[in-house]
C-alpha cells in the first residue's frame, strides 16, 4: 500500500522557480504564458505575482504582473503587454521560450480580489492590458457557478489588441455582459466611431450605483484615475471602487 503525500505549498513570500510550459501570441504587442510553479498552490482571482530577472552582472529587476488564471494547483497563466521602454516586458513577450525558468513570488495581494462567496453585482472596467486580472475574475465567476451579475467594460485600441478575445466571447452569458470601447480603430461595420472612453459611455455601459456593485478598475494609471473619478461622480461610493494601476500613461 502506498501513501501519497499532499502537495507542498510554499509560502507566498518565498521566491520560487517556475518553468514556462507554453506561450501564445495574444496581440501584436502581447503574449500569454502558462507557467508551472511547484509549490504555487493556486491563487485568487485578481491576485498578482512578482517576477524577478537577474543579469549576469548582478543587476536585478522586479516587476509585478497580474495573474490571468484563478485555478487551484501549480499552473498559472500570465499575459504581458510589451512596453516600448520596458525593462522586463520585452523579454517576456519576445524572448522567453518554452522550458525557460523564471523567479516568481506569490500569490500576492488581498485587496484587488474577487471571491466566489461575494454575491453583489460586479462591474469590471479594464483598459488595455488591465484586462488581465479581470479575465481571472470572469473565469472564476464562470467556474464557480456564481449567479452574481457581472459586467465588463473593456477599452482597447483596436480589435487586434484584445487579449483573450475568444475566451471572453465564450464567457458571455445572461450573467456576464461585455461592452467594447475601441479607442483608435473599430471592427468593420461598428456602429460607433473609435474614441476614448467618456463619462457618458461609462454611465450607459456600466451597472448603476443604485445596484450597489463592487467595481474593479485596472489599466494604465491615467485611465484608472479618470475612470475612478467618473465613477464617484456617478455616485459610486469610493469604498466600492477598487483600483489597480499598471503605470504607464
Amino acid at each position: 500500500m502506498t501513501t501519497v503525500a499532499p502537495p507542498v505549498i510554499s509560502a507566498s513570500n518565498v521566491w520560487k522557480v517556475g518553468t514556462v510550459a507554453s506561450v501564445h501570441t495574444e496581440s501584436p504587442t502581447g503574449r500569454s504564458l502558462m507557467i508551472d510553479v511547484p509549490g504555487w498552490g493556486g491563487n485568487l482571482a485578481g491576485q498578482h505575482l512578482d517576477l524577478r530577472l537577474s543579469a549576469p552582472d548582478g543587476y536585478q529587476a522586479v516587476r509585478s504582473y497580474s495573474i490571468a488564471s484563478a485555478s487551484p494547483g501549480d499552473r498559472l497563466e500570465l499575459a504581458v503587454d510589451r512596453l516600448p521602454d520596458g525593462e522586463v516586458s520585452p523579454y517576456l513577450v519576445d524572448d522567453v521560450q518554452v522550458g525557460d525558468q523564471l523567479e516568481i513570488r506569490g500569490p500576492l495581494g488581498g485587496w484587488f480580489v474577487w471571491r466566489p462567496e461575494q454575491t453583489e453585482p460586479v462591474q469590471l472596467i479594464g483598459g488595455g492590458s488591465g484586462i488581465v486580472p479581470l479575465v481571472a475574475m470572469a473565469r472564476a465567476h464562470a467556474a464557480s457557478g456564481s449567479t452574481a451579475k457581472f459586467r465588463l467594460l473593456y477599452s482597447v485600441r483596436s480589435p487586434q489588441d484584445v487579449f483573450f478575445a475568444d475566451e471572453l466571447a465564450s464567457l458571455t452569458s445572461p450573467n456576464f455582459e461585455i461592452t467594447w470601447v475601441y479607442t483608435r480603430e473599430t471592427p468593420a461595420g461598428w456602429p460607433t466611431a473609435a474614441g476614448r472612453l467618456s463619462p457618458s459611455v461609462l454611465k450607459t455601459a456600466t451597472i448603476p450605483a443604485a445596484e450597489k456593485p463592487t467595481v474593479f478598475v485596472c489599466g494604465p494609471t491615467g485611465f484608472v484615475e479618470s475612470v475612478a473619478d467618473w465613477l464617484v461622480a456617478l455616485d459610486h461610493p469610493a469604498a466600492s471602487v477598487k483600483t489597480e494601476r499598471f503605470g504607464g500613461k
Binding site: D50, G109, G247
Partner: protein, 84 residues
C-alpha cells in the same frame, strides 16, 4: 513611468510582515485620511519605493532595498490596523 498604487507593496512588504499589508488600514499623520494601503500612491525608483497618501500626498512610508537589508520608514503613519 507613472506612479502605481499600494497593491505593488504586497511582495516587498511580505519580506517584513507576515500578513498581507495591502489590506492594512493606515491613518495619514498629515491629513487624517484612513484608507487601505492598496489605495496609496506608490513611486518607484529602482529598488526604492516611496508611498504617499492618496488624499494629501504626504509621504507615508519609504521602502529601501539594498543588498543584505531592507529599510522601512513609516514616518507618515499615525496608526496602522491589520485584519487578522
Amino acid at each position: 513611468m507613472n506612479h502605481l498604487d499600494g497593491n505593488v507593496l504586497a511582495g516587498p512588504l511580505s519580506e517584513l510582515f507576515c500578513v498581507d499589508m495591502t489590506v492594512a488600514v493606515g491613518r495619514c499623520g498629515g491629513c487624517g485620511d484612513e484608507s487601505v494601503l492598496a489605495s496609496a500612491m506608490v513611486y518607484e525608483s529602482g529598488p526604492d519605493i516611496v508611498v504617499r497618501c492618496h488624499n494629501c500626498d504626504d509621504v507615508l512610508m519609504t521602502v529601501v532595498r539594498a543588498p543584505g537589508d531592507l529599510r522601512v520608514e513609516m514616518r507618515g503613519f499615525g496608526m496602522i490596523k491589520v485584519p487578522l
